[in-house]
């Protein structure tokens, strides 16, 4: 085909086609809704939640457990099963007949532990399936990305497993809420315990997952341990999802460090810890002291993956199913009855988030997002397994107790791999909300 010179007929034809093309979108832009509508406020007799969890990638195990917890939460909210934590939450507006008389439905997607995929999934749930709330995420990078999207679309994001300080710090958003604890709180909780166990004169070597969570955890743990009098020899960043850590572990041996701090999670932590133990780090004597390994963020699922390597290792945890309070017992019982395994901390935080959102809607008396946000901000509750808890209005971070745990030396079975060393009370883990900067932004409703 030749490039035809532009003549009058061709020009008219082309501009007619272009005109139709440009006018077509106007046809599809939906009319503005009434004033009291925010994105996806349900009009039928169901309300849809979106579970955006990693089913593939480095955090897949946690993601699968999160999905189970969400499904259980939906059951309980709809009044099926044994009701779980609904009866233990104090104060509660939940009635166990759905939310504001509407049945709860859910959709889910695989976030693949990748920001792009997670945002695609969240957009599908919001735009196609009409999800009013998005929850999930096992990586802080993903959580921060999805939280930003939710702020933009005006849909509330109840963060699941995300431990970075940035989620409710530098990158906090008005539409994002986090129940899980963060790296700073881990540092505050963990430092006194390891200081007592390993002494005040230690040289630490950090291996850090190279993204927002790793960076903030490294910083928090570094600050907390240096306050004890420890020195930091080096902090090395490793890519997320690396299967082989040997190239990072070998230099540790010759660095003169006597503590290795693994800022890894999920399969990364399973691999790096197992390989460190195989390299014989824990049998070494450096500077006249036993070489020690610390994993600041610890979970039962990872302990199962790492097997014998976790024995004696210190870390922190948001929650553990072996706690003795009523809420923990109730949740472990109904989760166990449903799936015949005890819940992980990831499952717990996701379940609690779903219930707290539902409760906030009931208390606000509407699904209108700005009102629900108001109901969640500054909400003080008890009976979710972490004692008295405050959803802080300034940064949307929950203030509550957290745990210092240690790998058990002689576990009874594969669910009994960790023991709770210390429950660190809320007073000690509370910090200044302005410490990490960031801005929540407005809560104005969005039409979508």
């Amino acid at each position: 085909m030749k490039f035809e010179p532009m003549n009058r007929r061709l020009f008219l034809k082309t501009s007619a086609i272009a005109g139709v093309g440009l006018a077509a979108p106007m046809h599809f832009i939906r009319n503005a809704y009434a004033d009291d509508m925010s994105c996806n406020v349900p009009t039928g007799d169901t309300v849809t939640f979106g579970w955006n969890v990693p089913l593939t990638g480095a955090y897949a195990d946690e993601g699968k457990d999160e999905l189970k917890a969400f499904q259980l939460a939906v059951k309980h909210l709809n009044g099926e099963g044994d009701g779980g934590l609904i009866s233990v939450l104090k104060p509660t507006a939940l009635k166990g007949n759905g939310i504001l008389g509407k049945k709860v439905a859910y959709v889910h997607g695989d976030s693949q532990t990748k920001s792009d995929a997670a945002r695609d999934g969240a957009k599908r749930m919001i735009e196609r399936d009409g999800a009013i709330m998005i929850s999930g995420g096992s990586s802080s990078g993903v959580a921060v990305a999805v939280q930003g999207l939710c702020q933009e679309l005006g849909v509330i994001f109840m963060a699941g497993l995300t431990h970075s300080n940035d989620t409710t710090g530098k990158d906090k958003k008005r539409y994002g809420f986090r129940h899980f604890f963060n790296a700073y709180q881990s540092g505050v909780a963990l430092a006194p315990v390891i200081g007592e166990a390993y002494g005040k004169d230690r040289r630490a070597y950090h291996l850090t997952a190279d993204y927002t969570w790793g960076w903030t955890q490294e910083e928090s743990i570094k600050n907390a341990t240096e306050a004890l009098g420890w020195q930091t020899v080096a902090a090395v960043r490793t890519p997320l999802g690396a299967a082989d850590f040997s190239q990072y572990i070998t230099p540790v041996l010759n660095s003169g460090a006597d503590v290795l701090i693994l800022n890894h999670y999920g399969k990364d932590m399973v691999n790096s810890l197992t390989q460190s133990v195989q390299f014989g780090l824990r049998d070494k004597q450096v500077n006249g002291k036993n070489f020690e390994i610390v994993v600041p963020l610890f979970s039962e699922l990872m302990a199962q993956g790492a097997g014998d390597a976790v024995k004696g290792i210190y870390g922190t945890s948001n929650w553990d199913w072996k706690l003795e309070d009523d809420a923990t017992k109730a949740f472990t019982k109904s989760f166990g009855a449903e799936y015949s395994t005890p819940p992980s901390q990831a499952a717990h935080t996701c379940y609690v988030q779903a219930l707290l959102y539902a409760d906030a809607c009931e208390r606000a008396g509407t699904f209108y997002a700005p009102e629900v946000i108001k109901a969640l901000e500054g909400f003080e509750f008890d009976g979710m397994g972490n004692g008295k808890t405050l959803y802080r209005a300034e940064d949307h971070q929950c203030m509550k107790s957290c745990l210092v745990v240690q790998g058990k030396e002689d576990p009874k079975d594969k669910f009994d791999l960790m023991q709770v060393v210390k429950v660190v009370p809320r007073e000690e883990t509370t910090y200044d909300a302005a410490m990490f900067g960031g801005e929540l932004g407005p809560s104005d409703p969005k039409q979508c």
């Binding site: 832009i29 997607g109 695989d110 920001s115 957009k123 599908r124 196609r128 933009e152 979508c448």
Partner: protein, 383 residues
């Protein structure tokens, strides 16, 4: 203009435009008619068309095309951060930077052909990925991804209006592009149609013929006195610009960019799209892109729940085994399904989906004496 051999091309362009602009209606039955996914169809369509200009015409298999996509995305987001939320400057910047980068990469990589070229581009892309992931963190924000923030300067916007509370949306002179809605989709759709038209012109031009000649026998080209390098470099840069444009649009519809966009899997994906759709065809890559994105977004969301819903009419004793077998292929097993589909197509339809369509077409339109029109799977030497 309809009475020359180019008539079919105009028909094709008109048909293609109609289909793309009507996607919201056409995709409704298969549950894909929401703006975010349709944007992805168009954006990856552009990406694959551009890739096909290089791979389909010259036979040079680049395994690092995602790098250009990433460069485009980063350039666009920086334009949003520094200058203005208008989509046009961002897209222009995306294309410009991708082109500049393609000149550099192409100049180095095109000194070799065949497998060496593929490996060189792969190495370049992986290098970019690692740079974006860790070394260039101030520029790319590493694994967390580059995002807009409230205290970005946005100097041009600042001159004209007061910033509102909260993050601004990407707009096209008042029309909101990011943040959902159909405006973003139509921007992508119209860009795709324009890109398709340009690709068509390239395919039919003497320049396109040159590129095909390079594919069929580069040595003979050289012996007849042609210097093939400038043609190759031009094709490579055009193809890189398409990728940059796709990256720019991706950033415009969703202003966040992470390093994983440049990973080798992303580069591999566009190769899959092109082969799945049909190498060297005009429409094929777009089809391939749509199929892959559909699998990734829709198939991954099915679960046992949905399967039970579909197969609910069967008696339980039959339903349960079928559901537990099929559930291997949906949900997190979507990769498996895609693999099976890909294998079947490569084995039975080496020309991709387009060959399948052509075979069906010929089945119903077989006229005597028209046997030549039967497509023969052309096996290409791996060079």
């Amino acid at each position: 203009m309809f009475n020359n051999p180019a008539r079919n091309d105009w028909m094709l362009l008109a048909g293609f435009s109609a289909v793309i602009l009507c996607l919201p209606i056409l995709l409704e039955p298969i549950g894909a008619a929401y703006p975010a996914l349709m944007q992805k169809f168009c954006i990856f369509g552009i990406f694959a068309i551009g890739f096909n200009i290089l791979f389909g015409l010259t036979g040079y298999l680049s395994f690092g095309h995602a790098a250009f996509l990433g460069v485009g995305s980063y350039a666009a987001v920086w334009s949003f951060k520094l200058f203005t939320m208008n989509a046009i400057p961002a897209i222009v910047m995306a294309v410009f930077f991708a082109a500049a980068f393609a000149v550099v990469v192409g100049y180095v990589c095109l000194r070799r052909s065949g497998i060496y070229f593929s490996i060189l581009t792969l190495a370049f892309a992986q290098m970019c990925y690692n740079l974006a992931y860790s070394v260039l963190t101030p520029l790319t924000n590493g694994e967390t991804g580059l995002q807009l923030t409230l205290n970005d300067p946005r100097v041009v916007d600042g001159l004209f209006f007061e910033p509102s509370a909260g993050l601004p949306r990407v707009d096209l002179f008042g029309l909101p592009i990011s943040g959902g809605g159909y405006a973003g989709f139509y921007l992508c759709a119209i860009t795709l149609i324009v890109c398709f038209y340009i690709a068509m012109r390239i395919f039919r031009s003497p320049f396109g013929m040159m590129l095909r000649a390079i594919k069929s026998n580069q040595n003979r080209m050289r012996y007849t006195g042609f210097n093939t390098r400038p043609y190759l470099l031009a094709a490579f840069v055009i193809s890189g610009m398409y990728a940059g444009l796709a990256g720019g649009l991706m950033a415009a519809t969703d202003p966040l960019v992470g390093a994983e966009r440049m990973q080798w899997t992303a580069s591999g994906e566009v190769v899959l799209m092109t082969i799945l759709g049909g190498v060297g065809t005009l429409v094929g890559p777009v089809l391939g892109a749509a199929v892959i994105k559909y699998f990734e977004n829709i198939f991954s969301s099915f679960d046992d729940h949905a399967l039970h819903g579909v197969l609910g009419f069967l008696p339980n004793s039959i339903e349960n085994p079928i559901v537990s077998f099929l559930s291997l292929f949906v949900g997190d097993g979507w990769n498996l399904t895609l693999g099976v589909v890909f294998m079947l197509i490569v084995i039975f339809l080496p020309g991709g989906i387009m060959e399948g369509l052509r075979r069906i077409w010929n089945l119903f339109n077989r006229r005597p004496g028209n046997r030549d029109a039967m497509p023969v799977a052309q096996t290409q030497p791996a060079e």
